[in-house]
């Protein structure tokens, strides 16, 4: 091989790899990202049933019902609207009424949210970022009935 050809292989290989990566990233960004919504967003934007989303808000006081086996239902509220959620499994340690929560799953046809995971985070001050921002945007005072630490979200 000549010097030119060798250099060509190097550059060609580099460009090809980058192109493959770019295509992969674009496809993945199209298919595998999950949007975050509050209960009000869901009603206002009309999120279709069956679409994977993250639902965030506060767990409504008095709404947690432990049913048959390990199925649990509760309501997620942003104080303006609320959405009933069903979840089967073991809830994270930080799950409490009045606390912030993020559930991932999809809506069924009747406006109920079927969650397959409920976010657990290992920080006592942790208010899921999306929840804190979304609630503040809606003028909700954080920390009402909740752990005083969580108002300080973001301060390590």
């Amino acid at each position: 091989m000549t010097r030119k050809q060798k250099r060509g292989v190097l550059i060609g290989g580099g460009v090809a790899t980058l192109c493959v990566a770019l295509v992969l990233v674009l496809f993945a960004l199209k298919d595998s990202i999950v949007f975050f919504h509050t209960p009000s967003d869901i009603v206002e934007k009309g999120v279709p049933p069956g679409q994977r989303i993250r639902l965030g808000g506060l767990v409504e006081h008095g709404s947690v019902v432990r049913g048959e086996g390990t199925t649990i239902t509760f309501k997620v509220t942003d104080t303006l609207r609320d959405i009933p959620v069903t979840f089967t499994g073991v809830l994270p340690d930080l799950f409490k009424e009045g606390q912030g929560v993020v559930a991932e799953g999809m809506l069924d046809g009747e406006g109920r949210f079927k969650a397959d995971s409920v976010l657990a985070k290992h920080d006592e001050n942790y208010m899921p970022r999306e929840v804190a921002n979304a609630l503040e945007a809606k003028g909700v005072k954080l920390g009402a009935g909740a752990h005083p630490g969580q108002v300080k979200a973001g301060m390590p």
Partner: protein, 659 residues
């Protein structure tokens, strides 16, 4: 008093660091030996002063001096001693102090052990290293002072987050930082080389041990974090593609690439400019990780905007060093003599492929980590980029890397014999095929890609063994000849073999546990039983106990296999006193073939408990693989040819047999 002493020492360290930046740099420019020699004692005394500061803070923690704000906010008098110690770096201010301590440690190590370095290069390296220290010492003193006093002092502290009160996590940050921050040396060498405008194979020989040391610690640090997440978070997962994890994983990928490109540079004087660029990029990714974790941008873009002092400061450091480094690179690299070219099918070629894939992989992780933040900042739209994204982008890029991994070392430098390499790898291909068939036969209902993944891992492991067998002429030479050859094989070769073998194990573990994990979620009352992968698990009962600083509900499970009791597992839930928070402690029965993993959840209305039971097949391979990589790095580092202080020998007169 000791606290003020520590604060004062930290300020002195800043002044020393400033001197260490300026004087050796001028000295190197003027070729003034006396000025250049200032660097060594400056680096050592900088370390000494920061160590005093660190000791002062540690002392405040151990004696529970709650008049120090940092201690009051993060410690508690009833905490066990080990977590009082770990609490020093279990918070923002303390961890930044640890950051600069390790930075100074590496700088002092270069000063003490880099005796074979040319004087000007050494002076410049230490000067650049000190400039990083200046930036972070300023950051610490101006925005994150750990020595701020609190008046009046509260009767007791707020306590360390209970979930961090764990032995693995106590030592996770120091190891991680040794890795992260260790790459600063490669960066300093790169900048020094750019300033000198000269770079050669010797440069790579000096940089490689430091990079290797940093890489080792980063490897084990990441593994410890993953292990901790596995047993402490109670989700049975070991990696979440969380931004905090990605922050440490990106420098690891770039650092791995750097190790390999530095090898090409050392042996063949090729890829010189690329290696310098990679050294700058690797440390930039470390800084980026520090920014992501330490600025508050993660928890909330909002809180970042409200209290921007810290975030903006780190961002400025990131921009200064990355931007400055790259600008210098753009200015000076074209004056550097380019290295030689080589055939695509050769050892160099395979290492270029390694670099290409690792760096592209790091880039996809970077996109997945920063995209949600950028999108939210620009449009307000909130998204999460989770494992599916990384599985779709990072995963496919690693497949060709793993396929090429055993082939690379089989190729000769300059011009490799591809067919010959394939022939020699026949055993590895055979082993992979056997694994493929065996896994398919055992788990034909599982995902169809998984057996190929396991076969790929087995192929990498077998490839490492084949390479060893090949080098000692196993099978063709007499046994005493084999032993002689095995003894003469350099330690760095054993290091490489082990590291590659570890990667194979890691892949097997990852694929097996992701594809074939068994999960049961069930409400159980005392006396009830479930069966998990051949284990009969009976819930015996639950008991409340008192720990040093928590109340614990301990569940008792009797585990039988084939009618015989093999273990009693006691997963529990703890309620800590300060701060009042519950944590889940898992009960794990570890075995080679996989872990039985039990967690208890909330009490049920009817007196039972929600129980999660997992069987995670071959999950130990993940951390064992990482541990073997760490050990491989250590063995390689102990090779006398790589040893930092070893005199550089002239080219070895041993003729390479033509193959």
């Amino acid at each position: 008093m000791i606290v003020e002493f520590g604060h004062f020492a930290l300020i002195l360290a800043l002044l020393v660091a400033v001197a260490q930046v300026v004087i050796p740099a001028i000295g190197a420019h003027l070729k003034d030996e006396r000025m250049m020699r200032v660097a060594d004692p400056a680096a050592v005394s900088q370390l000494f002063l920061i160590a005093i500061a660190f000791f002062a803070l540690t002392h405040a923690y151990v004696t529970s001096d709650f008049s120090v704000l940092n201690v009051a906010e993060n410690s508690h008098s009833t905490k066990p001693l080990i977590y009082k110690l770990a609490g020093v770096w279990g918070n923002h201010e303390g961890s930044m102090l640890l950051w600069v301590l390790i930075l100074a440690l590496f700088g002092a190590a270069v000063a003490l052990f880099g005796n074979n370095l040319p004087l000007t290069l050494k002076a410049r390296v230490l000067s650049v290293q000190a400039s990083i220290a200046v930036a972070f010492l300023l950051f610490s003193l101006l925005t994150s002072n750990p020595f701020t006093r609190l008046d009046p002092a509260p009767p007791d502290g707020r306590g360390l987050n209970p979930i961090l009160q764990d032995p693995a996590l106590a030592f996770h940050p120091p190891f991680l930082y040794m890795g992260y921050v260790g790459f600063s040396i490669a960066f300093s060498f790169a900048i020094a080389a750019l300033i000198e405008g000269r770079i050669d194979a010797a440069w790579a020989r000096w940089v490689r041990p430091w990079t290797l040391a940093a890489w080792m610690f980063l490897t084990i640090g990441i593994a410890m974090g993953s292990w901790w997440a596995y047993y402490e978070l109670g989700w049975g997962g070991w990696w979440f593609w969380d931004p905090v994890e990605n922050a440490s994983f990106m420098p690891w990928l770039a650092g791995t690439a750097l190790l390999h490109s530095a090898l090409v540079m050392e042996k063949r004087e090729a890829l010189k400019i690329w290696t310098v660029l990679l050294a700058i990029l690797t440390f930039s990714l470390s800084l980026m990780g520090t920014f992501i974790v330490r600025s508050g941008v993660l928890t909330s873009v909002h809180s970042f905007a409200v209290d921007p002092a810290r975030g903006v400061f780190i961002l400025a450091i990131l921009v200064l060093f990355t931007g400055g480094g790259l600008a210098l690179f753009a200015l000076r690299s074209k004056d550097m003599q380019a290295g030689g070219l080589f055939q695509p099918i050769s050892r160099e070629g395979s290492l270029v492929l390694n670099n290409l894939l690792l760096v592209t992989g790091a880039a996809t992780v970077l996109v997945g980590t920063l995209y949600p933040m950028a999108l939210e900042g620009l449009t307000g739209e909130k998204i999460s980029v989770g494992p599916p994204f990384f599985n779709m982008t990072f995963g496919p890029l690693m497949i060709p890397l793993l396929v090429a991994l055993p082939i690379g070392p089989m190729l000769a430098w300059k011009r490799g014999d591809f067919a010959g390499a394939m022939q020699r790898l026949a055993f590895a291909f055979g082993a992979a095929l056997v694994a493929l068939v065996a896994v398919f036969a055992a788990e034909y209902r599982g995902p169809w890609l998984a057996p190929f993944g396991i076969a790929l891992g087995v192929y990498v492991m077998a490839g490492a063994i084949v390479e060893w067998a090949n080098r000692v002429k196993f099978g063709s030479a007499k046994s005493d000849e084999i032993i002689r050859r095995a003894r003469n094989l350099p330690r760095s070769a054993y290091g490489t073999l082990l590291a590659h073998f570890g990667i194979g194990m890691l892949v097997v573990g990852i694929v097996a546990t992701s594809a074939y994990r068994e999960e049961h979620i069930q409400a159980m009352k005392p006396g009830e039983q479930i069966t998990v992968n051949g284990y009969d698990v009976t819930f015996v009962g639950l008991e409340r106990a008192r720990g040093p600083n928590y109340v614990e509900d301990i569940a008792d499970f009797n585990v039988k296999r084939g009618g015989e009791t093999v273990a009693r597992l006691t997963p529990s839930k703890r309620l800590y006193d300060a701060p009042p928070q519950t944590t889940t402690e898992s009960g794990i029965l570890a075995a080679w073939r996989g872990d039985l993993y039990l967690v208890i959840g909330d009490p049920q209305p009817n007196g039972g408990y929600a129980v999660r039971a997992y069987f995670n097949p071959l999950v130990r391979f993940i951390w064992l693989g990482a541990l073997i990589m760490f050990i491989g790095g250590g063995i390689s580092l102990s090779d006398r040819r790589l040893r930092v202080g070893a005199p550089s020998r002239s080219r070895q007169p041993i003729a390479v047999p033509a193959e």
